[in-house]
Symmetry: C2
Subunit: 225 residues, 2 copies
């Protein structure tokens, strides 16, 4: 683990950040009754304890009122700020297959402030095609174009055998984080953050849970404290 | 948390199970030199400590030999057994869009013992179509057909607003676990296990990591001990 720049926000664990994402999902999709949501309602929906929800939200400096709850809009804003999604993140997507198309059509990305600004593929027959309003560019220009487009994130939806070389190119451009769907363990410089969504591993985890009887709401440990 | 049947395997944490999945990915994709892999090579690839790898593998009763390492094939077998993937899992898939097609073409699923045995959609124009060798059936028959097909797992690749009702149908059939890609928090009876892959939340986690400078190899906490 290398030295990190000073933080402006109080330190959150990854598990806490994940819970905040789930709370945000609830708060922003529920019709708020009079603009208020209760910690117990969030707790029941996410599958953690009421105390956990209150602790997590108190850590954001957000205190609900007993019997009244939290003001929904303010709470959503505070969570977005804590997670770093109170801004737009520009992303390039590499590998324009079915998964890429599914992601591009997925409304949730733009709603949460993620904007795909470039599509790249090494298949020459795909280059020049328009997909969801963007023209597919040649993967040969991935590095220079990512920088030109001001992309900070890269999304890899390509086969495992070519994922590392695409990741290397993105790492030498100005990319700060990679969301990797290729079923490989990528090696990256420590300044580039990585989240891997390995779909076979998700299924393996489900098989493990079914076999062993553990329970989980969102594919992650229920809490960290 | 309800009472669970007695376990045959030693108890693994979710984080340990996830690390084992990553080790398995390495062991089964590397060309094994003389059939041996070292804990340090696995550790470097996955991004955990050598000691962690040795501890995790020792918990499976698998002890490498200093300077020689682990016998690759035996190690893969032991990990598969611990995770519960030393068998075939039959799954039904609900919602036949781009994401479903991407999953069906994804070679990793079948290689790890997951077999999609039925496709369902509520869109009448898709019913009867052949997709990756399977005929799309009407979602109206989801419950009875899942039971007939002997499916134990369900994969939900449908819009958020209809995911809960499909999950309810699967829960009343013999489904034991659900892999949910819909961006909603599902409510299920505790006997049905749930892994949610919420793609917007994965991107939120990446933004959080980029913003806050934490590092992670595979979208989960690095260790739990």
């Amino acid at each position: 683990m290398d030295a990190q720049p000073p933080e402006r926000e109080p330190r959150l664990s990854r598990a806490a950040a994940h819970r905040l994402s789930l709370y945000l999902r609830c708060v922003s999709t529920w019709p708020a009754t009079g603009g208020k949501v209760s910690s117990s309602r969030i707790a029941a929906a996410v599958g953690v304890s009421d105390a956990q929800v209150r602790r997590d939200l108190a850590a954001l400096g957000h205190l609900g009122q007993r019997g009244i709850g939290y003001e929904a809009e303010g709470l959503a804003t505070a969570i977005r700020s804590a997670l770093g999604i109170n801004r737009t993140w520009r992303a390039v997507l590499v590998g324009v297959g079915n998964l890429a198309r599914a992601l591009l059509r997925y409304q949730g990305f733009r709603a949460q402030g993620f904007e795909v600004v470039g599509l790249f593929d090494s298949d020459i027959s795909k280059v020049g095609q328009t997909v969801e309003g963007l023209i597919v560019e040649s993967a040969t220009h991935l590095g220079e174009r990512s920088a030109e487009l001001g992309a900070e994130l890269g999304i890899l939806t390509l086969p495992g055998e070519v994922a590392q070389s695409a990741a290397d190119v993105l790492a030498t451009a100005r990319i700060r984080g990679i969301l990797n769907f290729a079923p490989v363990v990528l090696r990256l410089p420590s300044r580039v953050r990585l989240v891997t969504v390995d779909l076979a591993i998700q299924l393996e985890q489900l098989a493990f849970l079914v076999q062993h009887g553990d329970t989980d709401v969102a594919g992650r440990p229920a809490d960290d404290d």
